[in-house]
Amino acid sequence: MNRYSIFSLLRNAVNYHQDWQRAWRSPDPKRAYDVVIVGGGGHGLATAYYLASECGIRNVAVVEKGWLGGGNTGRNTTIVRSNYLYDESAGIYEHALKLWEGLSQELNYNVMFSPRGLLHLAHNVHDMQEIGRRGSAIRLNGIDSEFVSPTQVKKMVPFINLDCRYPVMGALLQRRGGTARHDAVAWGYARSADALGVDIIQNCEVTGFRIENNTVTGVDTSRGMIGAEKVGCVVAGHCGVLAGMAGFRLPVESVPLQALVSEPVKPILDCVVMSGSVHAYISQSDKGELVIGAGSDLYNSYSQRGSFDIIEETVGPVVELYPIFSRMKMLRQWGGIVDVTVDRSPILGKTPVNNLFFNCGWGTGGFKATPGSGNVFAHSIARGEIHPIAEPFSIDRFNTGALIDEGAAAAVAH
């Protein structure tokens, strides 16, 4: 693997960049692997990387039906944070955040993780109670969390309209939260996993599972059967389809989620600002675009498109909260498919089929978890025992009732 640095860049510049290697190989699938990871998004590639780097399993393939990072990895609003209410969520998202903090160096690939600070606004008494509870829980889980006053919010975002329809009463600040470059995460993990021997196979669609005695033995793909000791499925937007192939159902529904960016402008918004009550999630990218998370439609769809009224319902609150953006322009809107569970928490663990593991259901918030999710999933697959951080996210919780209901806790009064 070419090492990336300012020196390698200088060296290659001399030769007009003719000598850069492929970021990852394009191998033909072998007949069998120790582990096959289905899904070449951030989570899948991270899983493969940690299998190879931390678990000593290098005979690994990642099969991806399209192109790497083409699903939600490349379609989200790139927010990274770990300010969750429940211990279980804090566990996995904080594990991820700690990995984010050293990820560029670990992968030798600049994923541009920028802890620029993340504000979560409170607009009514109920919101204040909610951030009060969550802020306290985050702090007691050993994660950074501060309450800030409207005045402090105004200092961080001078053009915010504190006196909007639901006046800003306060905010929860996570200084270590921020954004990262989404594509780079997939590419960085792919490059490092490849260097450790992982075969990354694009344009290879899984069409079925080989299951004998309720134990998975391989996957059928558009490029033939690939044998596997163990299979890990990490497919946002299609987990239900794969589960169907393996003969079981998931408590997941796939719905469209949209996002949009404005035209690029010079830096004006430094931190990430999220508001639940005046539904607006906004940050400014390094290119200068305002990156705005829209809502999800509530109907199932795999079309990667959403409805225009969602865009209207997204831009309205943005202009209410930031009136100066009224003359900004929407440059691009797009949709992804998010797999939503009823408690808005992921499913990560074993399935009814032996040696077949699923990591799915991340809903609207999977990007931030990428390193942590991949890491604990890799360890779970390698050991055949679910990593303690992942344990609460078992599929069985939907039978026992042990939900991790971040949604219910945060959104009751709306």
């Binding site: 990336y4 300012i6 860049l9 007009y16 960049h17 850069w20 290697q21 492929r22 970021a23 990852w24 399209g66 192109w67 050293g102 560029s104 160096q105 600049n110 541009m112 920028s114 009514n124 008494v125 109920h126 109670q129 009060g132 509870r133 306290s136 829980a137 007691l140 889980n141 050993g142 309450f147 053009f159 639901y166 780079a184 404005s262 035209e263 690029p264 402008v265 010079k266 830096p267 079309s303 831009v315 309205g316 202009v319 100066i324 009224s326 003359r327 900004m328 929407m330 440059l331 691009r332 797009w334 919780r397 039978n399 026992t400 009732g401 042990a402 939900l403 209901d405 219910a408 806790a409």
Partner: protein
């Protein structure tokens, strides 16, 4: 001297109306009908901006919405807009614009140092560096952010307003060029309801830039006649300055009309700046035309280089000849029209044609006109100085076209018009989920199969009809077919006017024009994408590093990600990648076109739904009294509820303490109108209650009330309230304020989808009733003074309802209580609400009546240990967790959520349970949300047992009180635990029963 490049005659400008404008602090003059770009060119200004990454000087490249370069900051202050395309901005008197992304000026830009070190900045360079030392990224990033970003965001409140409307039509025609006009005419004559939309200020499309003759008259006259006829058709709506930006499912299209932008910010005359049309059409005819394809050669980005079609537009439409010596570089015949028209306008013209032996009719015509033609040649570089090009270096091509040969000739030119052929404008078609098809012989993508959701037709250049007669005929057919498909019989296609057809020769598909050094390895840069400074070398690097999928290519090189969305660059990028990989173009792929076609103003998306109209404020009938009497309000859902009623100089704390005391010692009065109310009737109403509440309802007699908890199927509490039997099969249900709509939907969902045979009718009557609640020891006396009936416990027992007039107003009075004291909830018709309230206030003076708000309501109920659903519950709490087993019937059989209580986690011991907490220091009020920990440590992390759900200073208990959900809470009563506070401090608390006042 002004307008030195303006031609003495011609054009669709109004020379009688000269307009003054400022650009980069210099005064210029143009004419009505100009765009900012045409006016600048008329004044000899080519250099208008700096590029995104390398800060290279850039000029005006096109004449339309595809413009990648000429982005300006329009106006200043509150009216400013970044990144406006000078080619689209119509000139108005006093217009003021400035170049962007440069400092201190567009001519001398310090950011251009990045151009000097451009070899260090290939595609994706940032992924490879800025990683050391790790802590420095935020510093690096600060500079990266500053360097990017183009224009500046407005920083003041938008003074303009925007309109938004829905429209429905039989046929929407997008684009009013020859094909679109013919389509609209054919459809319109059939009587169909037609909307014709075009992004330009006048209809005609390419005909406005074309001296063609149609049916024996100039094109413009033909256009005028067609537009006049369309204008007379009653069902036809004509929209100029209207860009159809988005094509969504089921023929739902979004169009943006720039209503008054062209009048300038000071002359809008009260009109909205823009208007968003949300159009639902039975049929959509796309006649969106084509966008010219640039040629990629060394330093093809210099000011003074523009598309050949744009040159035609500037000459014919705006009467501007932007250069005196014009070079034309082409791979096809269409650019010869530009050469001929430029020569006609007085320019010295020389054509550089990459084809070996061009032989079309237009080529012959150019030769006849004495225009020099260098065939089998290319431009190998340009000389640039002082804001525009001065000359082009021309060389012969090798046989394959991949190298140059011979010597470098200099062609002196101050303008270089280029044409690489034309790409159908398929963006909307693709947005509408149509599948694109690659035409091998034409080297372009065209519409293929439509989505079944989006019926319609395409016509004209957007479907690769390249000649005017073809556009006219296909347009007429498409319009007729659309009307027919929309249900209009007997439609005939409009006749096409006679046009001289000039047959065109073929093109030579060379996508990378060589120079005398290998592409990407010398001083000259080959830009396939001008907006984001992406070069052929970048694509080669992407291919080398394995970013070969079209989406990877796009993301790695940022091709097509600029404000122009790659309108001129996408196909060149694909073709270059195809060349490098040795694949046919369609196998490289095509990127997804996403809305909007051109950027869409946030304000237009919002329309009038802003400020006061952003979201409704719901107010109770008593609201005017609350306002005049100084209430502070709380947002509860969309309602404005009185939070507390401070006396002059009183703090919230003081006000709430006073209100609490008054309600327990005299009479308190609450505006409870916001509570959800549902009228339930029908012979199966009782069955419904038994299914949606946890307790049994069979014994509830008319006139009696009962409290109920509602669960979802997970078994968790989601709402509560009192329901009253009004008569046989007739009930009045109340819900929480925030839960009213949810409960109503919940009942309907079950009734309509699971129990459709049950006879139950639910009607939301929340807003039909105004409610004043009297509570406290004086409540009965006060109410007695306003009615003529006994109110003692025997005559009017607790948990019952009676209907009688209160102060002469017909009322339903409920003797129920959320304070634990005797209370009467007086419900009257909403229109009497204010009168009732004011009467009670007056009559209450004798009884020391005190109106109180929601905060006091919260304290009073907490004193008695009553829960608030949504505050003491959060969707994870069962009735048992609340210590309310008593309300869960064991006998009545099934009800919603019941089975879930038997699940292992829901039935287990030690769940979080609702308890009371008393602080060690009785005046210390725990912040709500604070967690109880065990054990307490010096610093986090700490094991959390649960959190404080409600916490108040209670004057009636004489100390602070709190409720909390903590693990195994019921078994901890009597224990002393610790809470850990945000500031790092801690406090001791004793676990108690949550009833503080008995």
């Amino acid at each position: 001297m002004t307008q030195i490049h303006r031609l003495p005659r011609g054009g669709r400008i109004n020379r009688d109306t000269p307009l003054q404008f400022r650009y980069d602090n210099r005064e210029y003059q143009g004419y009505e009908g100009d765009t900012l770009a045409s006016a600048l060119l008329a004044n000899g200004v080519h250099l208008v901006g700096r590029s995104f990454k390398y800060h290279r000087p850039r000029g005006i490249y096109s004449a339309g919405s595809e413009e990648p370069n000429a982005l300006v900051q329009l106006e200043s202050g509150a009216h400013t807009e970044p990144n406006r395309r000078a080619t689209e901005v119509e000139l108005y008197d006093g217009l003021c614009a400035a170049s962007q992304n440069c400092w201190p000026s567009v001519k001398f830009d310090l950011g251009a140092v990045s151009s000097g070190v451009s070899r260090l900045l290939p595609a994706g360079f940032y992924y490879k560096t800025f990683m050391w030392p790790a802590s420095f990224w935020m510093t690096y990033e600060k500079f990266i952010r500053k360097a990017a970003g183009l224009g500046r965001s407005p920083e003041e409140i938008d003074p303009d307003h925007y309109d938004k409307l829905h429209a429905h039509c039989d046929v929407l025609v997008v684009g009013a060029g020859p094909a679109g006009l013919q389509a609209a005419l054919s459809a319109g004559r059939s009587g169909a309801r037609v909307i014709l939309a075009d992004e330009k200020p006048e209809f005609g499309g390419s005909l406005l830039s074309d001296p063609a003759v149609l049916g024996g008259r100039p094109a413009a006259e033909w256009v005028d006649a067609v537009v006049a006829e369309l204008g007379d058709l009653p069902e036809v709506t004509l929209l100029t300055r209207t860009t159809v930006t988005g094509y969504y499912d089921y023929n739902f299209l979004v169009a943006n009309e720039r209503v008054s932008e062209h009048l300038g910010p000071r002359n809008r005359g009260g009109q909205p700046k823009e208007r968003l049309w949300k159009i639902r059409a039975r049929q959509v005819v796309l006649a969106t035309g084509a966008i010219e394809r640039p040629l990629v050669f060394a330093d093809n980005d210099r000011p003074g280089i523009m598309l050949a079609g744009a040159l035609r537009t500037y000459i014919n439409r705006f009467a501007v000849l932007p250069g005196r010596r014009v070079g034309v570089l082409t791979n096809n015949d269409s650019a010869y029209l530009a050469a001929l028209e430029a020569a006609d306008a007085g320019a010295d013209v020389e054509v550089i044609d990459v084809r070996k032996d061009p032989d079309g009719a237009l080529v012959a015509k150019a030769r006849d006109a004495g225009i020099g033609i260098r065939q089998d040649s290319t431009v190998a570089g340009v000389r640039y100085r002082g804001g525009r090009i001065r000359a082009a270096a021309v060389m012969k091509l090798s046989d394959s076209g991949s190298d140059v040969r011979g010597r470098r000739d200099t062609v002196h030119c101050d303008l270089l018009a280029v044409s690489g052929g034309w790409n159908p404008t398929v963006h909307l078609f693709s947005q509408g989920k149509g599948k694109l098809r690659y035409l091998e012989d034409q080297h372009c993508f065209v519409p293929g199969a439509r989505s079944a959701n989006n019926p319609g037709h395409e016509a004209g250049a957007c479907k690769a009809a390249w000649t005017l007669p073809a556009c006219l005929a296909r347009g007429a057919e498409a319009g007729a077919a659309a009307a027919r498909d929309a249900g209009f019989g007997g439609v005939v296609a409009a006749d096409s006017p006679a046009v001289d057809e000039v047959p065109e020769g073929g093109m030579r598909p060379l996508w990378i024009l060589p120079t005398d050094h290998p592409v990407g390895r010398g001083p000259g840069k080959h830009f396939h994408e001008l907006h984001n400074d992406s070069t052929v070398a970048d694509i080669a690097l992407a291919a080398r590093e394995g970013f070969v999928s079209v989406e990877h290519l796009k993301r790695y090189t940022t091709t097509g990600m600029g404000t122009d969305q790659g309108k001129t660059s996408n196909l060149n990028a694909l073709s270059v990648m195809a060349d490098i990989r040795g694949l046919p173009v369609p196998e490289v792929g095509v990127t997804t076109f996403r809305p909007p076609f051109t950027p869409l103003t946030f304000g237009a998306i919002v329309g009038h739904d802003r400020r006061e109209l952003f979201l409704q404020k719901r107010k109770t009938p008593m609201h005017p009294w609350h306002e005049t009497n100084g209430a502070m309000f709380e947002d509860v859902g969309d309602w404005k509820r009185p939070y507390y009623f401070p006396l002059p100089g009183e703090s919230m704390h003081d006000a709430v303490q006073r209100e609490c005391r008054a309600a327990r010692t005299a009479v308190g009065m609450l505006d409870a109108s916001t509570l959800g109310k549902i009228d339930i009737r029908g012979k199966d109403a009782l069955r419904l209650l038994n299914m949606v509440y946890t307790n049994a309802w069979d014994t509830l007699r008319p006139g009696r009330c009962r409290y109920g908890l509602m669960l979802n199927e997970h078994g968790m509490v989601f709402d509560d309230g009192v329901t009253t039997c009004l008569g046989e099969h007739h009930y009045h249900m109340t819900t929480t304020t925030g839960g009213a709509a949810r409960v109503m939907n919940w009942l309907e969902e079950w009734l309509q989808t699971e129990w459709p045979s049950w006879e139950v009718y639910c009607t939301s009557v929340t807003e039909q009733w105004a409610v004043a609640t009297l509570t406290g020891p004086g409540a009965r006396d006060l109410l007695s003074s306003l009615c003529d009936r006994p109110l003692d416990d025997d005559a009017f027992p607790f948990m019952s309802m009676q209907a009688f007039p209160v102060a002469g107003i017909p009322a339903r009075v409920f003797r129920i209580s959320f304070t634990g004291d005797i209370a009467f909830e007086i419900n009257v018709r909403a229109r009497h609400g204010l009168a009732l309230w004011e009467t009670l206030i007056d009559a209450g003076k004798k009884h020391a009546l005190c109106p109180y708000g929601t905060e006091t309501m919260h304290v009073l109920r907490a004193e008695k240990g009553f829960i608030i659903a949504g505050q003491d519950t959060d969707g994870t709490v069962t009735p048992m967790d609340l210590g309310m087993d008593w309300i869960v019937s064991k006998k009545k059989g099934d009800f919603l959520g019941r089975r879930s209580h038997a699940r292992t986690d829901t039935a287990r011991e030690g769940r979080k349970q609702l308890v009371g907490l008393l602080t060690e220091d009785p005046v210390f009020v725990l912040p709500e949300g604070t967690h109880v920990v065990e054990p307490l440590r010096d610093s986090p992390p700490m094991n959390m047992l649960g959190h404080v759900t409600s916490s108040y200073m209670s004057p009636n208990v004489g100390r602070s009180i709190a409720m909390a959900l903590i693990k195994d809470g019921f078994n901890r009563k009597g224990e002393t635990l610790s809470v850990s506070l945000m500031d790092g401090g801690s406090h001791r608390v004793t676990v108690t029963d949550p009833v503080f006042l008995s």
